[in-house]
């Protein structure tokens, strides 16, 4: 079961204990409470991948861009 959706951490709601850490996360205008128990490094403004209510990773934005840079090298715009 692998559906995980990227969302932006808006606000940390609970920080008393690492495993109870929770945040409000925004998914293109929808907001849901998400557990950050497994992403202690996630901060407001970061994007996290969320699966069944838990953030599993913080999206590496530099890596996220790489595919587009790679494509530019591969097949430059306008090449026949």
């Amino acid at each position: 079961m692998c559906l995980a959706v990227p969302g932006r951490v808006v606000e940390i709601l609970e920080e008393s204990q690492p495993y109870l850490r929770r945040a409000k996360v925004d998914f293109g205008g929808v907001r849901k409470e998400v557990s950050l128990a497994f992403t202690p490094e996630a901060m407001p403004g970061d994007y996290v991948l969320v699966h069944v209510g838990f953030a599993l990773s913080v999206v590496d934005e530099a890596e996220a861009r790489r595919i587009f840079e790679y494509l530019e090298k591969l097949d430059p715009e306008g090449a026949p």
Partner: protein, 370 residues
Amino acid sequence: MKFVDAYRDAEAAARLARWIRRRVTRPWTIMEVCGGQTHTILKSGLPDLLPPEITLVHGPGCPVCVTPLELIDQAVAIASRPEVIFCSFGDMLRVPGSSKSLFDAKAAGADVRIVYSPLDALKLARANPDRQVVFFAVGFETTAPANAMAVWQAAREGLDNFSVLVAHVLVPPALEAILNSPECRVQGFLAAGHVCTVMGFREYEPIAKRYRVPIVVTGFEPLDLLEGVAMVVEQLESGRAEVENQYRRSVRPEGNQPARRLIAEVFEVGPRKWRGIGEIPASGLQLTPPYRRFDAAERFPVRVGAVRESPECIGGLVLQGVRKPHECPAFGTRCTPETPLGAPMVSSEGACAAYYLYGIHGAMSGSRRS
């Protein structure tokens, strides 16, 4: 949506597809492991973009398809108990057991509820102290951290009316089982990106080496899958067999350490029977002794009758990439999404349902439209 829309860009997809078309010199069979990847492939119509030399085989990455019949029967039996509120993800409700699915149980009066997170089940347990809440803990490693957390929290809170029916499966042993099959035709793999987000990808290195197959950890958006295929093709065409990471924006080689720690605390590896494939040692998760009191199978010992799989269903062969769905004699006639004989026809990512719904392409007849 950020990190979603850009990965569905038509222009970029076309470019990747073009590269693949130019690079390919002979036929290759590639398996995408995860059902979520199958879903994207079908939803985006990716096979239309790929050259005919590339055959995509839908792998066993759909827990719906691999959860053993006994467990479905057990789930149905437990759900039918009057004191039980049985919680499950939506995907599982349709899977036929020996005689019933969880939906049938629901129609017959069982309190079966769809939840989006194991934490929802915990909430129900807190809100209903006089009922027993059972959560169907199915999934690959991706869902294990969440399920581990639910059990861990239940333990901390002393929630005695909460338990889990564990049906977790692990990917690497499944890949080995497929590769061990003498008829295996799969030459390269797109490994499941969210499984690897949790577990990392070190455990695939010995597999790539031993069986000489490229394994590319791949994401779930159309561009991810195309890039993953491109990377596998590049390896196949140049005779390499390594583990590479396409899904770098989410997957690190060592995975998610806090998640892995909690999984190790709550679960341990054990044997697991895979529907249609059989028992694979060390391929599932079960609760560790300190948490065994939360095991629904122990809390509700139920007697399930002799397990009967439809004799016609060749789901196991399909899952291993050995047969295509339309090569099954029952396909589209006795076995359809309305009247499924086995799990791969029920799950929307199951290879058979995918072929059925995808009917406008490939070797489909028009008979299903009658």
